[in-house]
């Protein structure tokens, strides 16, 4: 067990003994990692900020159930993933999905064949924007599973645990996400 983990566990014992402010050290220690994954899953800063707060609030309420042999960073990370998933599910329920075809505007993209230059850089920007909107076309579960696998480099087992689903279901969610995103990309590349 590393020094940071020992400090985390000491802080948790202090919190459970009634020292609420000890939780502040845990929040300060892990906020940025939680914000990063929250932003990658939700795709926007405001939602990520909300997720960070939700995650630490939820973590505080569940702190009595935290097992001393666990790593607090991993534990709060999983809570943050669940909070982010809940948030994008709620958001998708409230707003209509983005119309990918309308947003992409592939006709406006100019694609030079091979020569690098300003146009290629522009295409890169367009692809980035396109990918972001394509990510919104995924289901919340697919988006979260893909983000954790592709961007956070989590294993299928870690994804399954964080999302509280079977490993095979996590694997299928990642496959479906990749297939959908590739179909969108293919559409963009054909048109350009």
């Amino acid at each position: 067990m590393g020094r940071m983990e020992r400090n985390d566990h000491a802080a948790i014992r202090a919190v459970l003994s009634g020292d609420k402010n000890a939780y502040g050290t845990l929040v300060a220690q892990h906020s940025r990692a939680v914000f990063r994954v929250a932003f990658r899953i939700t795709g926007n800063e405001a939602d990520a900020e909300e997720v960070v707060q939700d995650a630490f609030l939820r973590g505080y309420r569940k702190l009595a159930d935290f097992e001393s042999r666990s790593n607090f960073g991993t534990w709060i990370y999983r809570i943050a993933v669940r909070c982010a998933l809940d948030r994008i599910e709620r958001r998708n329920g409230e707003a209509a999905r983005v119309d990918i075809a309308a947003d992409a505007e592939p006709e406006a993209v100019q694609v030079p064949d091979r020569a690098p230059g300003p146009e290629q850089l522009l295409l890169g920007c367009e692809i980035g924007a396109f990918c972001e909107s394509a990510m919104h076309s995924l289901t919340p579960l697919e988006r979260t599973a893909f983000t954790l696998r592709h961007m956070e480099d989590c294993s299928m087992e870690e994804i399954a645990e964080a999302l509280e689903i079977a490993p095979n279901a996590a694997k299928q969610a990642v496959y479906r996400a990749v297939q959908k995103l590739r179909q969108r990309l293919a559409l963009l590349k054909v048109r350009t």
């Binding site: 940025r32 914000f35 505080y60 702190l63 961007m151 496959y175 297939q179 990309l185 293919a186």
Partner: protein
């Protein structure tokens, strides 16, 4: 080998530890092209840059949530749910289990000689049964012999119950003789033999009990001293009964 599916290619991209699929890519140009296309697509799907957060970000988050957090109380868990008590309870249960096991072993071991001791005197039980039955049998036999000795030989009506009683005593006499022989008591065996002869004659007198037959039986009884012998044997019975711890009741007679 068949071409790799898209799922297999995706799995290979993320896991990279499938040597069989990797060998297939070396040999199959179609799959190799498909894998290159997948790599290019996934490379395009880069994560967007995460907005930077400064060193004080954690403090800001804490300040935004601190007011919403109630402090934990020290006695949040009941005493019986604390780890120390749970551990002690489990340890006590184990100790009790082991103690019960060894107590059972010791008790069983100590019971072993007692059981043997109880089985040893169990052997003389049949003689005890014999004693009880014999006492009853000899009493009834003595009564019969006394009646036979004093019966009026000319009164056939009085002789008839004697014959019935003799028949009843015959069965008991045979069993008592058998037990006496097995227990190694020659005097008793011999006496019961003579009694058996008399009872058989009395019970199965051809043509019924007439005056002549009764007189003959009385003469034989006197000659053998059978009544005296039965009384002597009866007098020995109390000694035998007192030596028995718990004389059994009931039995053959």
């Amino acid at each position: 080998m068949n071409h790799l599916s898209e799922e297999q290619l995706i799995e290979l991209y993320y896991k990279k530890d499938n040597p069989e699929a990797a060998r297939h890519l070396d040999a199959c140009s179609a799959c190799a092209r498909a894998y290159q296309a997948l790599q290019a697509d996934l490379a395009d799907l880069k994560p967007a840059d995460t907005p930077a957060r400064d060193e004080n970000y954690g403090v800001q988050v804490w300040n935004s949530i601190a007011d919403r957090l109630p402090a934990y109380t020290r006695e949040k868990r009941p005493w019986f749910r604390r780890p120390l008590w749970i551990g002690l309870s489990a340890a006590s249960a184990c100790v009790l289990l082991v103690a019960a096991f060894y107590a059972g072993r010791v008790w069983e071991h100590e019971q072993q000689p007692h059981n043997l001791a109880l089985t040893v005197p169990a052997a003389p039980r049949p003689p005890r049964v014999v004693v009880v039955v014999l006492s009853d049998h000899l009493e009834r036999s003595e009564r019969l012999l006394v009646q036979l000795k004093h019966v009026n030989a000319n009164d056939a009506e009085l002789a008839s119950p004697l014959r019935d009683e003799a028949r009843s005593l015959l069965v008991a006499n045979r069993k008592c003789r058998q037990e006496a022989e097995q227990s190694g008591d020659p005097a008793l065996t011999k006496a019961l033999d003579r009694l058996n002869t008399l009872l058989t004659t009395l019970a199965n007198q051809p043509g019924g009990l007439n005056a002549g037959a009764i007189a003959q039986l009385q003469e034989q009884m006197d000659k053998d001293g059978l009544l005296f012998e039965v009384r002597v044997l009866r007098s020995r019975i109390p000694d035998r009964q007192t030596s028995a711890n718990s004389p059994l009741k009931g039995g053959i007679a």
